[in-house]
Every structure is written in structure tokens, then in C-alpha cells.
Symmetry: C2
Subunit: 367 residues, 2 copies
Amino acid sequence: MTATAPTSTRPGRERTTRTLVDADIHPHALARDVAARLAPAHRRRWEMFGSRVPGPPEIYPRVRNAGFRVDAWPDGGFPGSDLGMVRDQLLDEFDVDHGILIPLQGHSWGVEAPEYAAALCGALNTWIREEWLDREPRLRSSIAVPHEAPDLAAAEIRRRAGDPGFVQVLLSTGTELSVGRRNYWPIFAAAAEAGLPIAAHTGGLAQHRSAGWPSFYLEEHVWNGNTMAALLMSFLLEGVFEEFPTLQLVLVEGGIAWAGPLLWALDQAWATLREDVPHLRRPPSEIVRERVWFTTQPIEEPDDPRHLELALRHLDMDDRILFASDYPHWDFDSPRHAPRAFPAAIRETVMGANACRLYGLPARDAG
Amino acid sequence: MTATAPTSTRPGRERTTRTLVDADIHPHALARDVAARLAPAHRRRWEMFGSRVPGPPEIYPRVRNAGFRVDAWPDGGFPGSDLGMVRDQLLDEFDVDHGILIPLQGHSWGVEAPEYAAALCGALNTWIREEWLDREPRLRSSIAVPHEAPDLAAAEIRRRAGDPGFVQVLLSTGTELSVGRRNYWPIFAAAAEAGLPIAAHTGGLAQHRSAGWPSFYLEEHVWNGNTMAALLMSFLLEGVFEEFPTLQLVLVEGGIAWAGPLLWALDQAWATLREDVPHLRRPPSEIVRERVWFTTQPIEEPDDPRHLELALRHLDMDDRILFASDYPHWDFDSPRHAPRAFPAAIRETVMGANACRLYGLPARDAG
């Protein structure tokens, strides 16, 4: 969101009559949180070598406060490392009913040496269970997985599948191979079997390789929509949705406005080139409207808000758009001000009802 | 080999007392050979789309006669498409006892859409069985596999494993991921189970990506040793040889002289950094000397032949070097002249005895 002056000084007041779900909150495990949950061999490696795959804070340490809100750094911690601060700045501040954790460190750790990657992601999930879900009933989480070792990723999904605190499987848009390829299918099979959606979140080491590593942070930031479009196309064209007929896919932090025109192009190409993808038996737009969800942050903001309204009408998926704040990142969208960017007709469902339906969460009684 | 004037006009005479095995002969299937062996759906695709992954002849159509000997083009065919010409120019001409086919088209086809890749490689193997092995008892072959879909590659290996005409599994050095990673282990598991070596042959679409796509053919040609060294390191460091304790690896068309110094560096690094690879429990050179084989073409040729002799002494693996002609490529090494490049003490074993031991082939009686 661009900056907007607050119009109310009474937190939460504007939204007491509707359910508020935040679909994109980033927790951050400190090195000691991870170490404490690793078996001795992996712990020794963690202490000697750490992770050789840097995340955005290491790649852009001086851009926009390493990517975080300036007020989100706890003493001796890191943005997202402290549940108390997340309560103060987000859950209580905006009277959030439910928040979905997305532990992005798994994007980097998931490409480490396979068994080590699995150990790190497992430690991250255990830390979330113990330090977040056990202590804060408003929260749910995504499962971090070692996505480049699909068999081990599937094992981690099965390990968490019985835990109702984990409501989806986290996938990076920066996979080493095209993400819909059968090489990754063990991940989708395990998610489908557990009845969990896949949440694809922007990022990961290899995310920009399709057109080379970007020179500028601005380039990377805006490019997120393109990597997400590539991910969606790969899921569609490799036949993932046909192979796993119950699988749902949530696209997180990749924008929305590009999707309508992409579906026009996909439907048109499918009509004339379907010999190339005989396994794709329906127009891609039909599949997307039954299987894909979008999140709002960062939503594309035109000078004239009617243009965004038109873009959303092109997409025609209002019942599959989820509000997301992206806390604690610098471009956080406030639940108080963000709704004004959306057309009035969809605010209620986008701010909460859609997410409740997807994740099976209770809606707030009308106040 | 650099050009050497023949000193005998009587083919085969120089080697009647020793066994001759050629470990690198390239057959080439014409489009109709493939089409005739595809199921209808894949055949329609083959006829409409062909392969979207070009091989070296398409990438360098004008360099060195598209990469082939000028005298190796049959009427209406392609170098390596005609068994009669291979007999005339190689098997009969040099009185070859055994020749190992390496169908390089699988390098390109193996990265097509997975099921299509599997169908193309399967058709190639069936063509080899029917048109080469059934007709020429001196020949054996490698199994072409869809290496980027390891589960389907393993299925193709199991399908051919009972056929004594197939003596190894062909792997490209141009895999999309580091080739030793567990993602490819289903291929190695199937090979080990069948008792077949893996033969890694230079080439494949992605072969030069580690330092970018090369600008020049000369660059690519000399670089082959580097990609092979990277492949060997990946096998060693990912723990492939520990995971599959009977697996043998043949390095084809990647040179030899680089290997000694690489083993010095690997042993030294292992001694000081082995915390990084706890699964590697022995000096890498020990593993290589028990599990790896090299082929001769194109062997590095210094101005002073004693320097090559010294390089081979550094490596100390004379009993694991196999003669290869690389027929019908432009830089073919003649079985008549090539031995002169090797130290006298190793000629006998390199020209045949080593390959007979590896592939379980009968040696010729001393004449």
C-alpha cells in the first residue's frame, strides 16, 4: 500500500462486524531457536556452517531496512522472532481473528544438502508448533519443506499432517526446475493426501533465473508477479491439477491484476495448440477458477482505482482472494486501510470470509 | 588424435594378438526409425512437434561437418544411421571384437516432457535392439533414459535389464541439477540392481550452464573435461558411491589427464573439511580407484608424450582406462594409430582387456 494517514485512533473499531484473517505473516527463527531443535550431527553442522543459501535480508541488508518495518525489531531479536511484538503490532492492534504464518526461511534452507535441508525445515516447524501455535490460538501455520528433495518434503508433510495447527504446505517460486514437473509431485501427493492446500510464496534463491539474476531490488520486487505467473502456468501445463484432483493452490505475494489477461492468453493458446498438452482437457481458466486462490499484498495500485476494479472483474474470482498484510515487511498492508483499495462489494469476503472457507476457520459472529 | 600418417596398409594386422574393444560408438536413429516405434499419441506428437531440444548437429550445423567425419554420411541417412557403413568403416576395417553403442540422441530427448521423453528413449532402445544388436553380435549398447524424470528412467532400465545386449545405463553430463543429487538416485538404484554401470557421456542441453553457455565450439569442445570433473565431484560428494556400494561409473569423452590433480585436491580438502561431508568416510581417491573408469577419446595430447605418461602415472588407474574411437565423429581416433599415444606398458589392457573385464565380454585368444 502507499502511505495513507490513519482516520481513526481507536484500533479495531472499523471492523468489529466482520471476520479478519491475515493470510501472510512471517515468523523468523533465531539461530538458537533452530539449534535447540536439531539432532547432534545437524546441530554441529549448523554451528560450523550455518546455511550457505542467503535470504533477502542477507542479499539486500541495506534496502528498506533489510526489507522490514523499522518499528518491528525486538531487542536482541529480528522482525518476526518475538510473538509478543506480533501480538502488539498486528493481532491485538487490529483485532485479527486468525493469522496464517508463512516461515520464509524454509525457502533458503530447503535447497541445502537434502538431509540437512529436511532437518532445518523440521526444526523450523517444531519451533513454530512450540513457540507460536501452542501459545497463540489465533495463529495457524504453513509447513516449511525441503522442496528440492521431494521425498523428504513429503515425509515432513506427513509428519505434520495430523496437526490442525498446520493448514497448508509452503512452496517457493524459486525452485530449481519448473515447479509443476513430476519431479515435485511427491510434495503435491502428500499435500493432497493430507487435504492441505499448497501455498506458493514469492522468493527463494533461484527465483529470478528465468531471465537472469536481477540487478536491482526494484526489479526483483515488481518481478514477483512474473515468477508467480510462471509458477501458475507450470502447474497448469504439467497437468498437476489433473493428477491431483482435490489439490488447491494459494498464490501469496505475487499480485493479482496480471491473472485475468494471462487466462485469456492461456485459453486462446489451448484452443489452438492443445495437441501439445493432451492431458489438459479443459480451458485453463476453468481449472484456475476451481483450484487457485490469490492474496492481496502487494496488490497492484493504479492511479485510478476503477482500473483495479476492472482488472478484478476480468479475473472474476472475488470469492478466492484473501487479505494479507505481509507483516513485518516494510511494505506491510494495514488491515485498517487496505480494504479501501478494494472494490466495496468484495471487502467483506476478502478480509475474512474467503480465508475461513479455504482453511476451515470459524467466522466471527456479526456484531 | 592429431593426424598421423598410417604406417601399414593392411587393416587389422597390427592387433591380431590382442582383443580390441571400442567403448564409444554413436548410432543415430532417423526420424522414421523413431516414429515406427512410438505409440499413436506420442507418434502424432513426434510428427507435429519433433523434439524441441536440439543436439550438437543442430546447434553447430557448419562446424566440422556438423561434428562428423566427412566420409561417414550414408546416402539418404545420417552418420551412424546405417549398420553396413559402421561395419565397413569400423568393425571390419579394424577387426573390432566388441563395440559399445552410445545413443546420444537420448541426451536431448531425455529432457522433453516426461512421458514423451520416456517414449522417445524407449523407441531409441527398441530400434537399437532390433536394427543393431539383433543383426550384429559384435555390438552391445547403453540404455538411453529420460534422465530428468528419474522414476521413468528407472522403469526403462528395468525394462532392458534382462537383455544381455544392454551393458550400461547412459547418463548426460548436462543434467538440470547437480547429477549426484538424491533426485537422480532412482536411476542409480535401478542400474545397481541390474548390475549395470552408469556411463556418463559428455553432452546434453544444459551441459555448460555452470559457467554460462559457451560462445565458441572450441570452448565447448575443450570444456568437456570440466563438466566431467564436475560430474565426478558431484557423484563423490553427494555420497552416491556410499549409497550404491556396487555401482561403477564410466566417464566417456571427458579426457583423463585432469583427474590426477583433481584427486590430490579432493583428498586434501577432504582431510581438512570432512565435517562438511560426514557421509564421505574415505579419501575420495580411494573411492575413485575402485569405482570409476575412463575412456581415451579425446585424450589430451601434449607436445612431449612423456608428459601424458606422467599424468597417467599421477592417476594410477591404468587398469580402468578403456579405448574409445568416438565413431563417426570428426575427431574419431583410429584403433590403428591411437595406441601410439599411450605408454607402451598400458596399450594391451587399454585396447581391450579392461573393457572385457568391465562389461563381462570374452577376450580374443592370443594369436
